[in-house]
């Protein structure tokens, strides 16, 4: 009986639901309904079937050896457990997920560092009242007027004015 049942861990669906991003909510709901259906089905089935009352049948059935034969065969019968094919796949998936999440976290941290840098630059800027036009162009390069592309005033396409 030891290998029979893989331990069914209690899942905190509430905490799980919190972590699902909004664009994957449909998949999460499908998973949850499937899970709930399975657990309902499992709960509906008794763990052991009720014991057959051999004594009654021995007295009731006229044919002599039949009940004994049945009883012998029944107790000798060993029902095979269903073979678990998916758990290894799931474990493999988990490994892959761990790897891809590590990458994603790495990229995310790089992005955060970039944002932090820009934030730092913005925060340490001199106030606008003390800036010259040159300082403004340094701080915000998009304000620089392209004098090569548009050599004549106003140095930008008229539509941009």
């Amino acid at each position: 009986m030891a290998g029979r049942r893989a331990a069914i861990k209690a899942i905190d669906w509430a905490a799980f639901a919190e972590r699902v991003p909004p664009n994957q909510k449909a998949m999460f709901n499908a998973l949850k309904t499937r899970s709930d259906a399975l657990s309902a089905r499992l709960a509906a089935l008794p763990e052991k079937p009720p014991a057959i009352d051999w004594a009654y049948y021995k007295t009731a059935v006229a044919k002599a050896g039949m009940v004994d034969e049945f009883q012998k065969k029944f107790s000798a019968l060993k029902i095979p457990e269903p073979v678990d094919t998916q758990t290894s796949k799931i474990n493999a998936q988990e490994q892959e997920a761990a790897k891809s999440t590590a990458e994603y976290v790495q990229a995310s941290k790089a992005r955060i560092a970039q944002y932090e840098q820009e934030l730092q630059k913005l925060r340490s800027m001199i106030p606008f009242e003390q800036m010259t036009l040159e300082d403004l162009h340094e701080a915000f390069p998009e304000t620089r007027l392209d004098k090569e592309k548009y050599p004549y005033w106003p140095h930008k396409p008229i539509a941009d004015l």
Binding site: R19, L45, K63, F70, E94
Partner: protein, 232 residues
């Protein structure tokens, strides 16, 4: 003689720190009296001649120019005086309003730039928050795999139990069938026997017996009807 030239305190990109941002420009220009003569001149003459010194100097100079006819009074003087009067009146009256308007234009530009800057800062902070939240979300991936494994385990367990149940049901069905068969056979035998007994009894009733039993019934009925009438 140390002349204090205006803006001399502002270094002009000569020191080693010329790449640093410049200190801000002073808010207002140097003080002037009568719109022409800087205050520093009066301060310069104060130690020697006191308060009235520069005024005496000015008056003397003007009288000198007039009396020696270095400056000649002609019609242009009158024109200049009128123009100056109008200009000074205009500036004194409308100056502050114009200044406020110009300041407002400047303020608007600065406010726009400031708004852009603030929005960028807020956007970046929100982006950082979002990234952190996504990282936190990702940490919950173990839930998903646990759920999947649970599903698999539940499925296997349910299947196994179903199989047990099927076996039990089948065996029970067969045994019950045997019992039911026996019962049915016994019942049929009983019924047949009863029917046969009845049939033979009926057959054994001779016509003579039938007549006797019918007359007896009629006599009994008559007796009963007599007793019934009595009670009614």
């Amino acid at each position: 003689i140390t002349c204090s030239v205006l803006h001399a305190t502002r270094p002009l990109h000569t020191s080693k720190q010329h790449l640093a941002p410049l200190p801000p420009l002073p808010e207002k220009g140097g003080e002037v009296r009568y719109g022409l003569i800087p205050e520093e001149f009066f301060q310069f003459l104060y130690p020697k001649t006191g308060v009235t010194g520069p005024y005496m100097l000015g008056t003397g100079l003007i009288l000198y120019f007039l009396s020696k006819e270095i400056y000649v009074v002609n019609h242009e003087t009158v024109a200049a005086a009128c123009i100056l009067a109008v200009i000074i009146y205009g500036v004194k009256k409308f100056g502050p309003d114009v200044a406020a308007f110009a300041d407002k234009l400047n303020e608007e530009k600065i406010a726009k730039a400031q708004a852009v800057k603030n929005e960028s800062i807020e956007g970046l902070e929100a982006a950082i928050e979002q990234e952190k939240k996504e990282q936190w979300r990702v940490e919950g991936r173990s839930y998903l795999f646990d759920a999947k494994r649970n599903n698999v385990a539940m499925l296997l367990e349910a299947n196994y139990r179903e199989r047990l149940l099927t076996v039990y049901n089948e065996v029970k069905k067969r045994l019950d069938y045997q019992v039911a068969m026996q019962n049915l056979k016994r019942q049929k035998e009983q019924d047949h026997m009863i029917q046969w007994v009845e049939k033979s009894v009926i057959q054994s009733i001779t016509p003579q017996q039938q007549k006797e039993s019918i007359t007896k019934c009629i006599l009994d009925l008559k007796a009963l009807s007599k007793s019934a009438q009595a009670t009614a």
